[in-house]
């Protein structure tokens, strides 16, 4: 571990003081990075140096640093969450990079994700899509029926789980040339559509959530599949197909 060869890198980082300011890529060298360090620890080291020099550190979203909260983002060398598959930026380790490499670090870009500062963007549009129907209307009473009263086929339960694994990071939007939120919306629609508890409100849900996504300024889906490739949780585009079926049937019958 300590004997591993360290990395010297050149970083090109998007700096933007606030939403109204004009941004630009700035160049920063970083030295002696351990391959066992995480990508965000590498940025911590960069920031430590900037603070010591009296410069402003780079702002980026991060929290759990174990790939589950969905806070971290970053468009690294042209890919959301960087070159490794099925991981978030916080789980990306420096062993994925070579000594001497230049790394481009930009924010997730989409009209519906305005930049707040540097690499931090506003993803509250995702919250508003969920307000439009991402729930089952059941009150907390303590008197709902017993959890085992409705058996759910294991296959459907597992599928619902895989859809529910979405962490709401927005990589799908950043990866998409249309900045479409289809994979995100489809994952939520699918989770509920696959469970008996979710079926009652299924039609209104899909119509309202899709409508809200359009209203937020996310683009349409043109089935390139880039979202699936970049999704850190491996959410399948089959979810989009399911959403489209749900949407079509809801549109006809409503």
């Amino acid at each position: 571990m300590s004997a591993e060869k360290t990395l010297n890198l050149t970083l090109k980082v998007w700096r933007q003081k606030n939403n109204n300011a004009k941004g630009s890529l700035e160049t920063y060298p970083v030295k002696d990075i351990s391959p066992g360090s995480s990508f965000l620890e590498m940025l911590d080291i960069l920031n430590g140096g900037l603070i010591e020099k009296g410069e402003s550190p780079v702002t980026f979203d991060h929290d759990c640093r174990e790939g589950i909260c969905g806070s971290c983002s970053l468009y690294i060398n042209g890919e959301p969450h960087g070159p490794a598959r099925l991981v978030t930026t916080c789980q990306l380790h420096m062993r994925s990079f070579k000594d001497g490499e230049t790394i481009y670090i930009e924010p997730f870009r989409a009209k519906a994700f305005p930049v707040i500062k540097d690499l931090m963007v506003d993803r509250s549009a995702f919250d508003r899509i969920q307000h439009a129907g991402g729930y089952i209307s059941v009150n907390t009473s303590g008197n709902t029926q017993d959890a085992n009263s409705i058996p759910i086929e294991k296959e459907n339960a597992d599928e619902a789980f895989y859809s529910a694994a979405c962490i709401g990071c927005g990589a799908c939007v950043a990866a998409c040339k249309n900045a479409s939120a289809s994979l995100f919306v489809a994952a939520k629609v699918s989770q509920y559509a696959l469970l008996p508890q979710g079926k009652v409100e299924a039609k209104d849900r899909v119509l309202n959530m899709v409508k809200q996504a359009e209203k937020e300024g996310f683009g349409p889906c043109s089935n390139t599949g880039a979202c699936e490739v970049e999704c850190p949780k491996g959410i399948s585009i089959e979810n989009i197909a399911r959403m489209n079926r749900e949407f079509l049937s809801a549109s006809i019958s409503k």
């Binding site: 571990m1 300590s2 606030n18 351990s34 066992g36 360090s37 620890e41 080291i45 430590g48 900037l50 603070i51 010591e52 402003s56 550190p57 702002t59 929290d63 759990c64 640093r65 174990e66 790939g67 589950i68 909260c69 969905g70 806070s71 490794a84 099925l86 789980q91 062993r95 500062k117 506003d122 919250d127 969920q130 307000h131 439009a132 991402g134 729930y135 089952i136 209307s137 059941v138 907390t140 009473s141 303590g142 008197n143 709902t144 029926q145 017993d146 959890a147 085992n148 058996p151 759910i152 086929e153 294991k154 339960a157 789980f161 529910a164 962490i167 709401g168 989770q191 508890q197 979710g198």
Partner: protein, 669 residues
């Protein structure tokens, strides 16, 4: 007479909660519309409370520092949630869950609270399933269970290794429904900086908008803190980077007693430290101990060989391995409670048997080879393969393990670059959860009227050690099923109060104080970044207030932390300004509070002259090294009253009465 009244209802244990609910004051629906409640934190406790209070009709203002309530750190909980459903028919019951929790907590929690927790646990599962939480199911379509440490039944419900995420998304969806209706006003990227007390009652908070830097006043008839634990006082922990004690600590400084700050859970199975630039530690779920066997080499030279890379663990013969948990605790084996497993790992590593080449050789093996073979043979039988080859068995077994723990194995591989299917994981204990927190009564109210603390932020249910899969249970129990009743009883007196003004001198003063503290940090012009101080605090805590504590070490820690705090205020550098998004400023404020809490934490550990649960004093152990409790003198909750200097706090003893269980020496042998 102590200032503390735990307000435990009279009557037999099993009837207390029912009787209580039958006799409290209720608020009629029309009046609820005129009552405001602030909920700080949107994890399982805060999120479920905000949703439920809004459903009931109160106007809720909810706050979180993250960019969305869905990102609170409950989301990272992996293994599962306990409930006394007894779906497995293995002898579980409300009483048994209660008993296991009291015993697991080393007899330092309150009977009535714990019994209520066990009682409502079953409702949680019903509620979550109704919300669409995709729990794991068996082939018959019914809910599956697994086993966790410190118990002999399978009562843990789970959703792969992402149970916390699924439960939190359930609570978040319930919140979304109320946000859409305008019943919850959500404040993302807001951090609470102080609580405002008017005429002795909590009536609002001061919060900073983290995007604009604006300091805001928010009023309400009651304030609920669901702000989580303070494990980050150790710098390295499994908590999220932003997890902090600020809300609870500011409440403490405004009069709320802080209970049992020294009760910290050091979780046995985390990925070991790799270097000085490490920013956090990652947990490997306790559920892995269902199938993983923990061991170190029996011979010192083998341990050394593993550390310097000349010996592969898989080449160490079975008879040269020390499965020390199975050896020391034959009846619970690898599933002993967390505190016991952590101390046992430390004992082996201190003795030189550690297997990780970091500064302190801290690491032990968690090995799945036996489970892979066992499952593989089982699968071969099920699939009708006669005389399967070794390779076939291994492949089949690995598949089973992948289905159960796939995402955890992937995460481990990502961090360490090691393949845990082929070679044992290396793990070591790390700070994970804090059982201590704000003192609350049976109503979950602190000693400040109208201020409530729920979930990990309070002290009440886990005593000196929390059992696995019980944090999620407590968070949701408090938020969905307990607080909504108890807060109503209090708010029934507020139906004629009307809107609380934010123009009062109390709000004025609290806002000014918050601004002054920020300006002090911004204008400090020191030379060292915030992390420099946080890391040093963490080292003091880990070395002197960690898994093994001594009088000498604790006394030193108190002095060192106070000195470090002084140095912090002399020399910290916070770049940027107060009126912009400033992550270093956010960190500085949190670390300033950790530097105070750490001192009280060490004092609490010093005063508790016994060993119990996660609190282990070297001076108080049995002949075979187990924790030695001193019930005659220490069967109480330490509730600390702030007086100015953190370690000069006044101790109030909230005596623990055990009427339903007999205090025994905890044994897992």
């Amino acid at each position: 007479m102590s200032k503390l009244d735990s307000k435990i209802p009279n009557g037999p244990l099993k009837d207390k909660w029912t009787n209580y609910k039958n006799n409290i004051n209720l608020v009629n629906p029309a009046n609820k519309r005129n009552i405001d409640v602030i909920v700080v934190g949107t994890g399982l406790a805060g999120g479920s409370a905000a949703a439920t209070l809004a459903e009931l009709g109160y106007n809720v203002k909810a706050f979180c520092y993250q960019d969305s309530p869905r990102r609170a750190h409950s989301i990272a909980a992996q293994g599962g949630i306990n409930a006394a459903k007894n779906y497995q028919g293995d002898g579980d019951s409300t009483y048994r869950l209660f008993y296991d929790t009291i015993k697991g907590g080393d007899y330092r929690s309150r009977e009535a609270n714990v019994y209520r927790l066990a009682e409502v646990s079953t409702n949680i599962i019903d509620q979550c399933v109704a919300q669409g939480v995709p729990f794991a199911r068996d082939y018959g379509g019914l809910l599956d269970n697994r086993s966790f440490g410190g118990v002999l039944v399978s009562r843990t419900f789970y959703a792969k290794g992402q149970t916390g995420q699924q439960l939190l998304l359930g609570a978040y969806s319930a919140m979304n429904r109320q946000i859409a209706k305008g019943k919850i006003q959500m404040f993302n990227r807001h951090e609470m900086l102080d609580v405002v007390i008017v005429d002795g009652k909590a009536r609002g908070i001061i919060a900073r908008n983290l995007v604009t830097g604006e300091i805001e006043r928010h009023s309400a008839h009651a304030v609920v803190l669901g702000t989580g634990g303070y494990g980050n006082v150790f710098f390295l922990s499994t908590n999220a980077m932003g997890s902090n004690v600020t809300a609870a600590w500011k409440a403490h400084k405004k009069g709320a007693f802080f209970a049992n700050p020294c009760y910290t859970q050091i979780h046995p199975t985390c990925v070991p430290v790799h270097g000085t630039e490490q920013s956090k530690l990652t947990l490997m779920s306790e559920s892995l101990r269902n199938d993983g066997r923990i061991w170190v080499p029996k011979n010192l030279k083998d341990a050394e060989g593993v550390r310097n890379g000349t010996l592969k663990p898989t080449n160490i013969k079975e008879e040269d391995r020390d499965y020390y948990l199975e050896r020391r605790y034959p009846s619970f084996g690898n599933l002993v409670p967390r505190d016991v497993a952590s101390r046992a790992a430390k004992e082996r590593c201190d003795a030189g048997y550690g297997v990780v080449a970091n500064d302190t050789n801290e690491g032990v093996f968690l090995d799945f080879a036996a489970a892979i073979q066992r499952y593989g043979s089982e699968e071969a039988l099920v699939k009708g393969i006669s005389n399967p080859s070794q390779e076939q068995v291994t492949a089949l077994g690995e598949k089973v393990i992948e289905n159960k723990y796939g995402n955890l194995f992937d995460m481990y591989k990502q961090i360490t670059d090691d393949n845990p299917y082929k070679t044992p994981m290396r793990i070591y204990p790390a700070v994970h959860y804090t059982m201590g927190g704000l003192w609350v009564d049976y109503n979950l109210m602190t000693n400040v009227e109208g201020m409530y603390a729920i979930g990990e932020a309070n002290f009440s249910d886990h005593g000196a050690n929390r059992l696995g899969a019980s944090a999620l249970m407590q968070g949701l129990a408090d938020g969905y099923f307990v607080l909504p009743y108890t807060i109503g009883d209090y708010l029934a007196n507020d139906i004629r109060t009307g809107k609380i003004s934010t123009d009062s001198p109390e709000f004025e003063a609290a806002e000014k104080k918050a601004k002054d503290e920020i300006n002090k940090l911004i204008n400090n012009n020191g030379t060292k970044k915030v992390d420099y101080f946080h890391k040093r605090l963490g080292l003091i805590m880990w070395n002197k207030v960690g898994m093994a504590r001594t009088t000498e070490g604790l006394n030193e820690a108190i002095v060192e932390i106070a000195a470090l705090r002084e140095e912090f205020y002399k020399d910290v550098r916070v770049p940027g300004t107060a009126d912009e998004l400033n992550q270093e400023l956010e960190k500085a404020g949190r670390v300033a509070d950790f530097l105070e809490l750490g001192e009280l934490f060490a004092r609490d550990a010093l005063e508790r002259e016994e060993s119990c649960g996660g609190h282990f004093r070297e001076e108080y152990k049995t002949e075979d090294g187990e924790a030695l409790r001193r019930d005659d003198e220490f069967a109480f909750v330490s509730a600390w009253e702030y007086t100015g200097k953190p370690s000069d706090a006044i101790l109030h003893k909230d005596k623990l009465e055990f009427e339903n269980v007999e205090l025994k020496t905890r044994s897992y042998k």
